[in-house]
Symmetry: C2
Subunit: 153 residues, 2 copies
Amino acid sequence: MISKKTKYALIALGYLAEHSTGEPILISELAKEGNIPKKFLEAILVALRKGGVLKSKIGKGGGYMLALPPASITIGKVVSILEGGFALVECLNDNVKAVCEECGDPACCGIRLVMSDVKQAIDSVLGSTTLADMVERSDNARQKKSKIMDFSI
Amino acid sequence: MISKKTKYALIALGYLAEHSTGEPILISELAKEGNIPKKFLEAILVALRKGGVLKSKIGKGGGYMLALPPASITIGKVVSILEGGFALVECLNDNVKAVCEECGDPACCGIRLVMSDVKQAIDSVLGSTTLADMVERSDNARQKKSKIMDFSI
DNA sequence: ACCAATCTCTATAGACTTGGTAGGTTTTTG
DNA sequence: CAAAAACCTACCAAGTCTATAGAGATTGGT
């Protein structure tokens, strides 16, 4: 299960992707529009900035902007920043090079072998889906729906 | 990250798959061989039994056996029993039909659309990998390694 | 009938994680 | 300098995860 942190991050990033005009957007606006507790969002945005996905401007007239075009920000990157990757067992974590206590020999651990496959499947999806894709799919679904509504009137 | 519960379950099931002679195997043996706290394992085995993966025999001479051949038990089944499925957002959970508070309209939620893809990728791997596969791959890796060792002597 | 070996159930406790809050600090604009 | 903003540190409540304890139920052998 992805954490609320990640969900909030994706909501905020989605909003930024759709409403960026070059001008920075306030935390307060992101919090209000995304229905996200402001203080909680603050921490999330800082993490995203440190992760290179956002840039900020301090002081009056400041706020947050995407550091890259939406098509260059993968969902995988966001998840990786906020959850430290999507590892399924310690020994498959990106950053940490820990070995699970359970599997004496990582190379021969059946669980590890299976989970490695799963991880690859996840990474493949998350690594190839961008913020732009996410927003676009959401828009498409909304349009499709409103079309159906039109018919029914 | 899969929980220790699931990891222990897979270890125990792997052991059962490799050592089943028709005779039930004791919790104590599974705990000892798998390096698993016995009492903790107890609860796990009960869950697996209720999930239809194991069957047990109570009383003297009792113990646990696989309820199905290893090739008929998917890793996905095990994960599903112990973690309630591998959902990534509430609204994609197998059992529960909850809607995330965040996405007013599930059909149009970009996050949901993306995570649905991820879930499908995960389920596809976990649903097509069986206990037998896991054990076999582990054995193969071990044999390969021991062969290399032989050469180096 | 009894005893020992087993699984089964309920309750509990400590550590850790998650979601969220509070309050003060620094930076920038005008 | 004052106001607007992001930034930082610390904290807390609630829940989850891992693990343990102990009593109860079932069976097989004698």
